[in-house]
């Protein structure tokens, strides 16, 4: 029994090592890796590719009905990145998950070739909710909404993706 446990443990460790450094093995496992929920982990924390900036999400709106020559508002930044006070964050920092999730979603959304992309839709869905929440109660008028993803580094803020305008 104990020998089997040792053998399985060593095999698992070997699989984790291969998974990190051997691409054919990673490709062979495909979607199985996802369903192992971390038992074959991906250890890539801030390396080798540099983390030199943040995705910033902006949106603007316009009254519906003049799609071609819509008069949009100024771009407004959606601030996903509010952090709590220092001593507290060790025990409670729910924004950390939102920020991580937003990075993943933006990473995929900027590759979207159409507005049917799941991550594009997730972002749009969230922005429509935020926009509606900011409107006075009882407002029923329809608006167009457009979002833009920008890459913010210490040196520059660069637009990298613009969505179509969608009714909301």
């Amino acid at each position: 029994m104990i020998k089997i446990a040792i053998a399985l443990s060593l095999l698992w460790q070997l699989a984790v090592i291969l998974f990190q450094f051997w691409e054919p093995f990673r490709n062979k496992l495909g979607r199985l890796q996802f369903y192992l929920c971390g038992l074959l982990p991906t250890w890539r924390m801030f390396g080798p590719d540099p983390t030199d900036g943040d995705y910033q999400v902006y949106y603007r709106t316009a009254p519906e009905g003049m799609v071609d020559d819509a008069i949009f508002t100024e771009w407004r930044l959606v601030d996903y990145d509010l952090k709590p006070m220092l001593p507290f964050s060790l025990f409670f920092n729910p924004r950390g998950n939102i920020v991580k999730g937003l990075r993943e979603i933006c990473q995929e959304a900027i590759k979207a070739s159409s507005d049917h992309n799941v991550f594009y839709q997730l972002l749009l869905n969230d922005l429509i909710r935020r926009y509606r929440q900011g409107q006075p109660a009882g407002t029923a008028s329809t608006y167009l909404i457009q979002f833009q993803i920008r890459w913010q580094t210490p040196a520059a803020l660069t637009p990298i993706f613009s969505s179509h305008a969608h009714p909301c």
Binding site: M1, Y35, P41, W43, P50, T51, D52, N93, K100
Partner: protein
């Protein structure tokens, strides 16, 4: 050669790992519940859209709309909190630990965009703790502890290796830029990082890379260096939690430290038995 297993020490290490891991999972579930609006139909992680991404991963089952909707997500987290309460009381551990592993896996699948390396490590820890709860064999408990230590030490080493091939980490430029981002820093720290000279970051970057790479030799280090390694680790994760906002990393990685201590003790016994 016979390596003695210190039964009391293994038991204490497992107990400490469980408590720290349960704390990590508790924080994670409370944060999930606090973020539950994001998992609702109009949220950033809405299942009604995200489920199409799962279809590409081969998961397509209409029954998932209930547990993966907002209410289901909250209930799964509440169930996990209930199991964690039983776990903290050391009640029904042979059933509680596999149930926690199952629910944590379901939550991992549901909430994959915000899932991090800390959640992966939590799965690994739960997976290793289950056999030790099912069997009273000291040897099996020792294997569980060594498996945890092996995984976490390899995690550090692997990260160190990846950083070491990126020249920016040795020069400190990557750390300096990282601390000026909005996602992984704070306004005060970002301002300070911008003003601080490159030599400070070169030193810090080099220390981080060497510390991570040294994980692979930890079981063979003298006791004083082992404690230095662990001390740097605690400081490293505490800084990451407070400065970068990655709080669950602190608790998840700290959970594995008793296993590193135990493995060091095993290797120490083995080496002594050669003499």
């Amino acid at each position: 050669m016979r390596i003695p297993v210190d039964w009391q020490s293994a038991q204490s290490c497992l107990q400490l790992i469980r408590w720290l891991l349960f704390l990590s999972l508790t924080i994670s579930s409370v944060q999930n519940i606090s973020n539950s609006a994001a998992f609702g139909p109009h949220g950033l992680f809405a299942w009604r859209f995200l489920k199409y991404a799962y279809r590409e991963k081969g998961l397509e089952w209409a029954g998932l709309d209930i547990p993966f909707g907002r209410t289901g997500f909250i209930l799964l987290n509440l169930l996990r909190l209930g199991l964690l309460a039983a776990g903290f009381a050391n009640a029904f551990l042979p059933m509680v630990l596999p149930a926690l592993l199952l629910i944590s896996a379901i939550l991992y699948i549901r909430a994959f965009p915000p899932m991090s390396a800390a959640d992966q490590l939590n799965t690994i820890l739960l997976f290793c703790l289950v056999p030790s709860a099912w069997s009273a064999s000291p040897a099996l408990r020792a294997v569980s502890l060594c498996a945890i230590a092996g995984q976490v030490l390899f995690c550090y080493f692997s990260n160190g290796l990846l950083k070491s091939i990126a020249p920016g980490w040795w020069k400190g430029s990557q750390l300096k830029i990282l601390l000026q981002t909005g996602n992984y820093s704070r306004k005060g720290i970002a301002g300070l990082a911008a003003k601080t000279g490159q030599p400070v970051f070169r030193l810090l970057g080099t220390v981080i890379v060497i510390w991570e790479l040294s994980a692979v030799i930890v079981p063979f280090l003298p006791a004083a260096l082992l404690w230095t390694f662990l001390g740097i680790g605690v400081l490293f994760h505490l800084t990451i939690a407070v400065v970068m906002g990655l709080n669950t990393f602190f608790w998840s990685y700290l959970s594995a430290y008793p296993a590193i201590l135990f493995s060091w003790q095993m290797v120490d016994h083995a080496l002594r038995s050669f003499n």
